[in-house]
Symmetry: C2
Subunit: 246 residues, 2 copies
């Protein structure tokens, strides 16, 4: 992990860009973080639209988390932003667009091609980032994960024992294979669902929530479309993480 | 409305029992309430198990609301507690028990007989209580409703223009007729659902949530049975009311 730039944001949050091998990422730490007082860490998931485009929303979440005393970090997803293009992923997205524009049902093959390779590639990268981040002075545990492509969060919750709690956003297609993985998730979950998310299959989201094996899980559904998560819902998700990571 | 007893609880909450005609009730007011600084009011709904049995849970909710600066009040439901028995309601409950113990599906006729007469009788009583409560010095608006038999809350939200927001607990049978009423509800709603509530029809609860006409509504589902609403879910419901009644 190499830091490539740093700036102090106005509310005393240190923002550092880094690269992990070829993968760009950003780390935010509150002023309170120090080697003698390491802070918990939240991994900020996001959709595959590129870190640059997602930056305004990510830095908002980072500032709020810093105010709660947490470090946050994110990395670019494979095939997104300034990472090398990924023709198979581009094709899968083009197939999805074609089907949706034609008003046809989105078949399992399209969902699988869209999501499963992304999960397979992204999750080990998040784990490598976690290795590097937890080795930094001032960053300790526990570790939470929040947001992004829900199947990435599900896989990470299954394979990564350092994860203590996760906020998942039920807003993307879910391959059938992920339902079996969901049953193996046992950490506390706070699941967000936008009730009127046009591009999302509400029943699949409810089924996935039902499948999670966690003894503590909550479904938090709000009105509005994909990007309309209300402020108070973000506050509630932050409180969930504070409850489990402090 | 006649006050029949009063006591000051240890956290400076004044608890007054009253009767409204034949109906017993309880009013809790925070020390901050005064004629020159009237406080908002929350009507505390509850299941038809009698106020005496429900008292521990009700006083918990009243104390928390008082800490938020709210008065709370509740009245006994028809046929419950020390009110005159209501043979038709008793028969409906016995019918329900018989069907459930036999493992048979609960038909619409049983649900209608159980819920609709209760709604028809209880809602005008809550409205009469509201008239009397808002006439008291130190109690102003806005008014919220929280908990209890969900169909009572739905009807009250439709017919009572003084209601500004409601916390509804999707934990009882819902007559089909209530779905039409739900579409006419427009106030902000915070709906609680216990995901594993044995005696509750989860799909009906989801359908009812979907039917509500409110532009602001959220579904908050947690693990556990009917009485297992977690503390943090109660906190979130209290925050919802604080957001809308302050």
């Amino acid at each position: 992990m190499h830091f490539t730039s740093e700036q102090l944001l106005d509310d005393n949050v240190l923002e550092r860009s880094f690269t992990l091998g070829e993968i760009p990422g950003i780390l935010w730490t509150p002023a309170s973080a120090s080697p003698s007082a390491p802070v918990p860490l939240i991994l900020l998931g996001h959709p595959p639209l590129g870190l640059r485009r997602m930056y305004p929303r990510l830095v908002d979440r980072a500032r709020r988390s810093a105010a709660d005393g947490f470090a946050t970090a994110t990395i670019e997803l494979p095939g997104s932003g300034e990472r090398p293009s990924w023709p198979a992923a581009d094709r899968a997205r083009a197939d999805l667009r074609r089907v949706m524009e034609a008003g046809e049902p989105v078949g399992d093959d399209i969902v699988d091609a869209l999501i499963l390779p992304l999960v397979d590639r992204a999750v080990p990268e998040w784990q490598a980032a976690l290795d590097a981040l937890l080795a930094l002075p001032g960053i300790g545990g526990p570790v939470g994960y929040s947001g992004g492509v829900i199947s990435v969060g599900v896989r990470l919750a299954v394979v990564e024992p350092r994860l203590s709690a996760a906020v998942l956003f039920a807003g993307s297609f879910v391959p059938r294979a992920m339902f079996d993985e969901a049953r193996r998730v046992t950490i506390p979950l706070h699941v967000l669902l936008q009730w009127d998310d046009e591009g999302n299959d509400r029943q699949a989201a409810l089924d996935l929530f039902d499948a999670f094996g966690s003894a503590e899980k909550s479904l938090n559904a709000h009105m509005g479309g994909h990007t309309g998560v209300p402020q108070h819902a973000g506050d509630a998700a932050a409180r969930f993480l504070a409850r489990h990571l402090r």
